[in-house]
């Protein structure tokens, strides 16, 4: 039950010594240096990818909505590394990072963002709606809260077929106040479904802060009524995320039913590219970026462990930038969708 919840969120009035631990090391979890290096690379790929997506949006090459994941990278990277092949993932509209963390090709993702025929949905999905059956990634959903019942269904199917797969359903702090979250958690608890509910609490549901939107600030307690255990974790610390994810996944895979992880995280950019984010101070954003950046944090851990050099980290950055540049080039050079695609995939062809 949530009584054992950890409380060390980045914008909570956290204890200075705990913050220091987070900056200099981490809260006591040991991690394999090779795995930490993977976390670092995966987070950096998302960061650079999103930076480039922001640029392409500014250049008019990406239209519509574009919700960047910058700042939240540790959440999906730490959790995805706690899963195994066959586990299913579903998320909301801030989904580019999830797709990359699931192993989807940055080229196909960028091509979808730019509305090209080589995109994962051939240009018919866009930023918010990409899927990969191959990678067990089930979207990419634009309606706040909708990933929760769908993810519950993914877990239901896993249990029904006797598979040991689990379903991870990501959603934000804003979605916690949606009725379907309550419905789904009750059903999952009632049927002992293998579902991990991940609340990415980035502090703002569009322009409304959690303080102004939620009567309780303890979002991890949302499953209390149904008896779904919840825990709060520092979502800016990839090691802590991974550790919490690993424990939750073990618990779920052992057949004990669903769990909730509330990840205390932060988005650096606005809700979408069109949001100037005037509802929070520049200082707040600057403080999070300089003091709590998840990638800097992982980099410091790696250097402190003495397993990699600054040069190695720079090399990784060069590799990641090259991969992102390749994706952007691929996207820009890909043809627009075939107009005939407009009418396909509405229903299965007769």
């Amino acid at each position: 039950m949530p009584a054992s919840a950890k409380r060390k969120g980045p914008s909570e009035p956290h204890a200075p010594e705990e913050a220091a631990k987070s900056r200099n090391g981490h809260a006591g979890h040991e991690v394999d240096p090779g795995l930490l290096l993977k976390f670092y690379r995966d987070m950096l790929l998302i960061r650079r990818f999103e930076e480039r997506a922001g640029q392409l949006y500014g250049m008019g090459l990406i239209g519509g909505f574009c919700h960047l994941y910058i700042g939240q990278e540790a959440v999906v990277v730490g959790l995805q590394h706690a899963l195994k092949d066959g586990d299913r993932v579903v998320t909301t509209y801030r989904d580019h990072g999830h797709m990359l963390a699931c192993g989807m090709d940055p080229k196909g993702v960028m091509a979808e963002l730019t509305g090209r025929r080589t995109g994962y949905s051939k240009g018919k999905g866009g930023s918010m709606h990409m899927f990969s059956r191959e990678k067990n990634f089930y979207g990419g959903h634009g309606i706040v809260g909708a990933s929760v019942p769908i993810g519950t269904g993914l877990g239901f199917a896993a249990k029904y077929t006797g598979s040991d797969a689990i379903a991870v359903t990501y959603f934000g702090d804003g979605a916690v106040n949606q009725g379907q979250v309550h419905e789904s958690m009750n059903m999952a608890a009632l049927w002992h479904l293998p579902v991990l509910y991940v609340i990415e609490n980035n502090k703002y549901g569009m322009g409304t802060s959690v303080e102004r939107a939620s009567a309780s600030k303890e979002l991890f307690r949302v499953g209390c009524y149904a008896g779904v255990p919840g825990e709060q974790t520092d979502g800016m610390d990839v090691v802590a995320v991974h550790e919490a994810g690993r424990k939750a996944v073990d618990y779920i895979r052992s057949g004990q039913g669903p769990r909730i992880l509330e990840m205390q995280t932060y988005r650096y950019r606005g809700h979408s590219m069109s949001d100037p984010a005037k509802y929070r101070s520049r200082d707040e954003v600057t403080r999070m970026r300089t003091e709590r950046d998840p990638i800097d944090h992982a980099g410091r851990l790696l250097l402190a462990a003495g397993t990699v050099t600054e040069d190695k980290l720079k090399e990784i950055d060069r590799e990641v930038r090259a991969a992102v540049a390749e994706a952007a080039e691929f996207a820009q050079n890909s043809p627009e969708p075939d107009p005939a695609e407009l009418y396909t995939d509405v229903l299965v062809p007769a």
């Binding site: 899927f131 979207g139 309606i143 877990g155 239901f156 029904y160 419905e183 789904s184 299965v348």
Partner: protein
């Protein structure tokens, strides 16, 4: 041939498909232990067990979310939404998620699921338990929409819907559940997207759906006996896909067309058919298109008021007589 009620045909159709495919799973409120509030799913729990026939909490969004997530990974769920009015409670999952996912994934993900729901008036249930909402579903690209009028079609079309790889909204009419009819023995499956000509006539082609079909047939008999008007009656059966081939062929034969619809008038399914008929065979028409519908009002509860809203045999007869004379 066995004589079954419409409600028995529902259970028979589900049982036929559950017996043949272990991926078919059935969930909904009071569908298992109670056999459904309309007793349309009696015996399924006993036959297939609680793993496959599942009572759910009263949580329509979670029911359809569970069905969708399951369908995305290859199961063939049948989800019951007890009254079609309650589709409004979970319309996000229907219209934004289930209907659009195949398109948004460029065909990577199919959603072979059926949403069964009790539709329609005539039971004095009032405005929130009596609506005919087939036109809601018809308005959303990515859904198939079926509404059977008799036990044989219930079994055959439900089986077809379960086997179909697209999401199908299957509207059962609650005032038809007690109606009896012959159902073929053994495996019975119909083809989705096909209308059925039930009666041939030279004067007018009447298109009806679900509970309006027996009324249209009764009206046609009276028009023939009392007024020497011979009507063709078509059971539309499927709104999406719509069997325009059969409909237009039969309209051209008589040169007159009338729809009998239980949904409220504005944007009812007959409006779409009227538009298609006007575009495709205007010059074959001898008279304006007639729509006999429920007026654009919520369904009232009192006997006389509800009877005055949903089309009756008397109203169909009177309207067609006037249109033809």
């Amino acid at each position: 041939m066995a004589e079954l009620t419409y409600r028995e045909a529902v259970a028979a159709g589900i049982a036929q498909e559950m017996a043949r495919d272990p991926n078919v799973v059935f969930l909904g409120e009071d569908v298992a232990a109670a056999g459904g509030v309309f007793k349309a799913t009696v015996g399924l729990l006993e036959q297939f067990g609680p793993r496959r026939v599942r009572d759910t909490p009263i949580s329509e969004q979670a029911i359809l979310g569970a069905a969708m997530g399951a369908a995305m990974t290859g199961l063939r769920p049948i989800a019951e939404i007890m009254f079609s009015d309650f589709l409004a409670v979970c319309w996000d999952i229907v219209a934004n998620e289930i209907a659009k996912t195949r398109y948004m994934t460029a065909g990577q993900v199919t959603l072979p699921l059926v949403i069964r729901t009790a539709n329609g008036g005539g039971s004095r249930f009032g405005a929130q338990h009596s609506q005919s909402v087939e036109n809601w579903a018809m308005a959303v690209p990515g859904l198939k929409v079926v509404a059977p009028s008799n036990p044989a079609d219930v079994k055959g079309l439900l089986a077809a819907a379960i086997r179909d790889d697209d999401p199908v909204v299957f509207f059962e009419h609650k005032s038809l559940y007690a109606v009896k009819g012959e159902v073929p023995d053994g495996e019975h499956i119909e083809r989705l997207g096909t209308a059925k000509v039930l009666r041939d006539g030279r004067d007018v082609t009447v298109l009806a759906l679900a509970a309006m079909v027996p009324k249209a047939l009764a009206a046609a008999e009276r028009l023939a006996a009392e007024h020497r008007i011979e009507a063709t009656v078509i059971d539309v059966r499927s709104l999406v896909p719509l069997d325009t081939e059969t409909i237009l062929r039969e309209v051209v034969k008589t040169g007159r067309v009338a729809t009998v619809e239980e949904n409220p008038r504005l944007c009812g399914w007959g409006a779409e058919i009227a538009s298609i008929v006007a575009e495709e065979c205007f010059w074959d028409l001898d008279a304006p298109i007639v729509r006999i519908t429920t007026p654009h009002v919520p369904l009232p509860s009192a006997d006389n008021l509800e009877d005055a809203t949903v089309p009756t045999v008397e109203r169909i007869v009177a309207t067609l007589r006037q249109a033809i004379d």
